[in-house]
């Protein structure tokens, strides 16, 4: 399962929350969007996407709804809840701090 960029634990949740913050989407669309926005760097297998979606739903951060799509098919659409928005802010803040810290470390020069 080693991939060029294995997702840091919990990062997938953050990405999904962020994508759903923009608009409600179904699972397939989330998968498409993930690939688009990360420029194929983050390879999320569809297999691990669905367990993550269901976990987020159970945590109450996203809610799901069956809707009819444009091409007239039933699909499950996920959207961010208020709890989820708060979680997103918290996680985004954490991520910012973490990446800033790592960048600082990497910028250290040998003296």
């Amino acid at each position: 399962m080693s991939k060029p960029a294995d997702l840091v634990q919990g990062t997938l949740d953050l990405l999904i929350l962020k994508i759903l913050a923009l608009q409600p989407l179904n699972g397939f669309a989330v998968s498409q969007r993930l690939k688009q926005v990360s420029g194929e760097v983050l390879q999320v297998s569809d297999g691990s996407l669905y367990p993550a979606l269901h976990k987020l739903e159970q945590e109450g951060w996203i809610s799901a709804e069956w809707k009819i799509t444009d091409n007239n098919r039933r699909a499950k659409f996920y959207s961010l809840t208020r709890l989820g928005r708060r979680q997103l802010e918290r996680e985004a803040g954490n991520w910012g701090r973490l990446s800033a810290a790592i960048s600082r470390v990497l910028r250290l020069r040998e003296t």
């Binding site: 699972g27 998968s31 297998s45 297999g47 669905y50 367990p51 269901h54 976990k55 499950k76």
Partner: protein, 904 residues
């Protein structure tokens, strides 16, 4: 999982439980929608429909696998999984009723035995004693190690000196067991009482249920007050609520009841000092001036003390040890001379150790034995599970293919083990409740156990813990093995008709070796006890115990103060009983043969005597036809005659060992001895009799002195501190069943004194039985455990070999097709089984050599590494193994090569 999350996940878990089907359908829809879109996309990219479908599926990773992962990711999924596992587990167990029954029943046996023993261990060794802050309580002892008195209770003057001098204790309390008659209201009865100092109850930290305990001023001579036990108050006085202030008769004297102790209060606890039953009433110690006079003579006051909060046991020990010299300095010159001026020593021991001491070894050995039995059972169930795991490989492979992870499979298998163990535990619990009562009813009286052994919360917790541990122990290895199955490996193996992996063989082999090793240890332990017990029984007691009835006739000092009355009473008893029809001979004596009797110091005229250590010699005062009744053999000289009474030349009879010890190489007849009182007269030895061997003490060839009771001076006969000479035993040799004469004999005694409380009516055979009851009980228990271990181990080896033979049928077929004789196949299978048994036996011998040392003080006349026992047990075990292996081995030889090969 933290507790709060667990609680939060519970409703979700319950919800998902009920919505399982809806959820599953929706998930299915969702994933198929995803697949469809993906396929459309792939087609749009220019793939053929088949390729598009395949690619989409590969990227998703299989609908069923993803579904399994989603289910696993749901919060609270554990609950659904657990219920699913349990449901599935129950179905599997139901489908294999034979396996389930064997596993559950053996586990129940093992867990039940452990629980029953644990409930006793808990009561004796673990549960706090029924006193306040009992860990601070200690017992204090005196000792004259050089005079072969390593542990003595206190004499009254020494008790008083200790109480005055000590600094380490908050208080010290003294007590002494005594047997008293209660009369007035209802039948007179003899009961166990204790004389206690007023300081005892504060030391124990226990108050009364009704009334009050003794005040300091009660603890003076002449104060006739009594505290009742709850039991006596309920049984004899019907729980009379006005009992305090009432007067009851004790030894025919009126005593005023001052209080009733609580139901839970039991004192003295069985154990130290050979006390077997708690007292039912307590009276003040109130030492008489005569008891405190000079050296006090009687070392019978047990001492319990409570350590001051800031004093450690070690500090108390050194302080008390340093008090020995000043206390001995109080002895008068005469008294000190009596002890040859050897050193007096004092020692301090925690009360807990004193109480658990006598049964500690037995309990630890039993606990070890039942734990080993449980281990054997675990190993047995594990081998069964492995055999079953092999046949479940197809099922497991399919589950793996459908997305079950290894940890998921492991959990499933462990759930099944847990179900087995819990079922075994529940059944074992029932067994323990019943087995505990059975165990306690079998316990002979002289195995000292506390009277409250109960199955309570702690014992239940123990059962649950043992069940779970058991499940993990026997379930983990087989589950791990089974869950590791690889898909390709399985495919290859199943195409060949299935030879299980090498690893599962090796594990099974190890388990069988373990079983045999453990079984050997248990069988050796029981073998040693059986050898020891047969030696005990084979010991010639030196007298004839058959057709002998014995009764104890203690005369209370209040009704019989004078020696004349006492002699008259016993003479009357002898005259009347010896002429009863059915009575051959009758005699009276201060103690029964094989009872230890009174130890006295014997002096003879030899001026060099001081150079020879003079151990205490038991002395028995006899009257009537004592020797004829008991059947002790006369070797030389004569018996006592009615002429040997006060006023004639004092005489004595000595045992053979005594004669050899005192006068080696000389004729004992005519020698002069006297027992260790300066004022006692010299006695001439007129006879030498055979030794009485006490099997319980296992000391053949004991010194013993017999003196005529009627030559004892008034002073000793009416003496009331020892009370030895006013508590003779009546011994009657009968023509037929001795028990049948009981009522006639008792009637004669009651015709002499209607108020007399006759105690301990036993046949001599019963007396003998009770002395070997302890060893008999130990032998019986360990014998049963050893037998079960042997049976289980042989079932284990049979199971493994049967399994091997079944799996290798085709191999035997090929061998025989290639020309192997039936004999060769037989030898092949047998040698495999015997190799395992031999390894186990070897390991077991090594363990047993170390472990049986634990029980060396339970053995008599056999060393804990007795080669005969070890060799015998090894032969028995290997024979049993051979028999267990023979059945499957024979089956292997019956293999028809054609059938075996076609079977593929």
């Amino acid at each position: 999982m933290p507790l709060y999350r667990w609680f939060r996940s519970l409703p979700l878990g319950l919800r998902s439980l009920f919505r399982r089907e809806v959820d599953d359908r929706e998930l299915d829809d969702e994933l198929h929608y995803h697949l469809d879109l993906k396929i459309e996309e792939n087609i749009a990219k220019g793939m053929t429909p088949q390729q598009a479908r395949r690619d989409a599926k590969v990227e998703l990773g299989g609908v069923e696998q993803v579904k399994e992962q989603v289910r696993g990711a749901r919060t609270g999924a554990w609950l659904g999984t657990l219920l699913q596992d349990i449901r599935f587990g129950l179905r599997m167990l139901r489908k294999n009723p034979g396996f389930t029954a064997v596993a559950v029943l053996t586990l129940a046996l093992g867990i039940g035995a452990n629980t029953a023993i644990f409930s006793v261990v808990d009561a004796v060794l673990l549960r706090p004693l029924p006193f306040s802050n009992p860990s601070r309580l200690v017992m204090v002892w005196e000792a004259f190690p050089k005079l072969n008195h390593p542990k003595l209770s206190f004499s009254p003057p020494d008790f008083v000196s200790l109480e005055r001098a000590q600094q380490s204790f908050e208080g010290i309390g003294g007590y002494r067991e005594e047997f008293v008659d209660i009369s007035g209201q209802g039948q007179p009865e003899q009961v166990t009482a204790a004389r206690v100092s007023a300081s005892l109850f504060p030391v124990l930290g226990v108050g009364p249920a009704v009334g009050h305990v003794f005040a300091a001023e009660d603890d003076t001579p002449g104060n006739r007050v009594v505290l009742l036990s709850y039991g006596l108050w309920r049984s004899r006085y019907a729980g009379d609520s006005h009992i305090v202030g009432r007067t009851i008769d004790i030894d025919r004297q009126p005593y005023m009841v001052v209080g009733v102790m609580p139901k839970t209060f039991a004192f003295p606890l069985p154990g130290p000092d050979g006390i077997t039953t708690p007292a039912v009433l307590w009276i003040p110690m109130a030492f008489e001036p005569s008891e405190l006079h000079d050296w006090g003579r009687l070392y019978a006051t047990s001492v319990i003390a409570r350590l001051k909060p800031d004093v450690t046991l070690e500090q108390a020990r050194s302080e008390v040890a340093s008090l020995a010299a000043p206390i001995f300095a109080n002895y008068s010159a005469g008294a000190a001379g009596r002890f040859h001026n050897v050193r007096l020593e004092l020692s301090v021991n925690p009360l807990r150790d004193e109480i658990s001491g006598p049964v500690r070894t037995l309990l630890l050995v039993l606990m070890a034995a039942v734990s080993m039995l449980l281990l054997i059972i675990c190993a047995n169930v594990a081998t069964l599970l492995i055999s079953r795991g092999a046949s479940r490989q197809k099922e497991i492979a399919i589950r793996t293919a459908l997305g079950a992870t290894q940890s998921r499979l492991l959990r499933q298998m462990l759930t099944e083990s847990l179900l087995l163990a819990l079922a075994g535990g529940a059944l074992g619990f029932a067994l323990a409740v019943w087995g505990k009562d059975l165990l306690l009813s079998l316990v002979p009286e002289d195995v000292l156990l506390p009277h409250q052994v109960s199955i309570d919360g702690r014992v239940t917790a123990f059962i649950v813990a043992v069940s779970c541990l058991t499940a993990i122990f026997f379930g983990l290895a087989p589950a791990y093995q089974a869950s590791k199955v690889s898909l390709e490996g399985h495919l290859r193996e199943s195409s060949r008709g299935g030879t299980p992996g090498r690893a599962s063989h090796r594990l099974q082999d190890l388990l069988v070796i373990l079983e045999f090793a453990l079984a050997l240890v248990l069988v050796v332990a029981s073998g040693l006890l059986i050898r020891s017990f047969t030696k005990l029984l084979a010991t010639d007691p030196g007298f004839r115990p058959d057709h002998v009835l014995t009764l104890s006739l203690p005369l209370p000092v209040e009704a019989y103060p004078k020696a004349v009355q006492i002699r008259e009473f016993y003479q009357q008893v002898f005259d009347r009983v010896s002429v009863l029809p059915g009575v051959k001979d009758a005699g009276l004596a201060s103690d029964l043969p094989i009872e230890l009797g009174n130890l006295v110091r014997i002096d003879d005229e030899d001026p060099n005597q001081a150079s020879r250590p003079s151990p205490g010699v038991p002395e028995t005062w006899a009257m009537g036809d004592y020797f004829q009744v008991t059947g002790i053999a006369l070797i030389e000289g004569r018996w006592f005659t009615p002429e040997d009474r006060l006023g004639t030349q004092p005489v004595a009879i000595v045992s053979q060992s005594m004669a050899r010890y005192f006068w080696p190489g000389q004729d004992a007849i005519g020698k002069q001895i006297r027992w260790g009182q300066p004022d006692s007269p010299w006695q001439t030895v007129v006879g030498v009799v055979g030794d009485v061997n006490d099997p319980a003490y296992g000391q053949p060839g004991k010194s013993h002195v017999y003196s005529p009771y009627l030559q004892l001076s008034d002073q000793w006969v009416q003496e009331n501190v020892y009370g030895t000479w006013r508590a003779l035993h009546l011994i009657v040799r009968t023509q037929s069943d001795p028990g049948a004469l009981t009522s006639a004999v008792v009637a004669q005694i009651h015709s002499l004194d209607p108020d007399f409380a006759v105690a301990s009516i036993r046949t001599m055979t019963q007396v003998m039985d009770s002395t070997v009851a302890g060893p008999k009980f130990n032998t019986f228990l360990l014998g049963v455990l050893g037998g079960m271990a042997l049976l289980l181990a042989s079932i284990g080896i049979y199971g493994v070999l049967a399994h091997v033979v079944a799996r290798q049928t085709h191999e035997f077929g090929i061998r025989m097709a290639l020309g192997a004789e039936r004999r060769d196949v037989l030898v092949l299978v047998l040698s495999k089984g015997l190799r395992l048994a031999a390894w186990g036996t070897l390991g077991g011998v090594a363990c047993a050599l170390v472990l049986t040392r634990l029980m060396s003080d339970m053995l008599y006349g056999v060393s804990s590494t007795d080669p005969a026992t070890f060799i015998g047990v090894v032969i028995v075990l290997l024979t049993v193994a051979l028999l267990a292996c023979y059945i499957p081995a024979r089956r292997a030889t019956r293999v028809d090569p054609m059938v075996a090969l076609r079977h593929e």
